[in-house]
Subunit: 142 residues, 2 copies
DNA sequence: CCATCTGGTTTGTGTCACGTACTACTTGGC
DNA sequence: GCCAAGTAGTACGTGACACAAACCAGATGG
């Protein structure tokens, strides 16, 4: 049963859209037995080889949260830790070939699903949507 | 260090925007010691009094996941279970006055933060964004 | 009235996130 | 050099969250 409360507010529309997109991510990730956060981890590692702390900054997580997250991914052979050449305390986290492959598959799957979601938009609408979303994403985080 | 990979794809823009909005939700919720799901639960109950299974459908969760979620909220006095008048097995979940008040506060806080996020858009851009997001949200879920 | 279905809870398992405490390495001053 | 402070990472305990499987009890259709 769908209730029509009239036009959505900007907040409502953005919040609901975010849940929609998150569900898309969760479904795409689940196809490869990943959680959203694991997928996000892999995505970040696509073009970086950060240490645990920097990784935590990207994800908005505490360093103590990273240990388990990376360890679980490592146990599945998606990621590997290697000692930093410059800093004896530090570690560099990197994708394994298997992790890179899985990331590519998931990325493609997410793309497919987002394409389906925006299927009925005109090309012009899609362009505008992308531009507006990009603007918001690139706004300073405070 | 920010890497500029050129213009974002639609997928990238929507995915990143969804994380941005989710973080807004998490922060607003955290101000009142709530998690995002708890906040979502309260939001759904604003204009409904569903049973556990229907609630699970709204949230995309299994009924067994609902028991704990509702129980934690109930323990905090935000929500209450009452027996359904028509069905002896069933339960109706409803906001308490305290829960309703907290929901209002959080809603206002989220509104404020989303407003800040869209601050630098023109009124016309905001309108278009809202319209586009609304369209996507209202697309069938399959 | 019985077989079946459905709403809800329980229990056990795993992920995720945090705070605190700890180890080990690095760095800045002396 | 050497020590105090800071920083990178891990370990551990706790709690929220989610699921599956097993279960109970009330509903429902022959």
């Amino acid at each position: 049963m769908i209730v029509d409360d009239g036009p959505l507010t900007t907040t409502d529309a953005l919040v609901r859209l975010s849940f929609r997109v998150q569900r898309v991510l969760a479904e795409a990730a689940a196809e490869h037995d990943l959680s959203v956060i694991q997928l996000r981890l892999l995505g970040i590692l696509r073009d970086r080889t950060p240490g645990m702390v920097e990784l935590g900054r990207h994800l908005g997580l505490d360093k103590s949260s990273m240990t388990g997250l990376v360890s679980r991914a490592e146990k599945r052979g998606l990621v590997e830790r290697s000692p930093s050449p410059d800093d004896g305390r530090a570690v560099r986290v990197a994708l394994t070939p298997r992790g890179r492959e899985l990331t590519a598959h998931c990325t493609a799957e997410v793309d497919r699903r987002i394409a389906a979601l925006t299927d009925h938009l005109t090309a012009a609408q899609r362009t505008r949507l992308t531009a507006l979303a990009t603007t918001l994403v690139q706004a300073p985080t405070d």
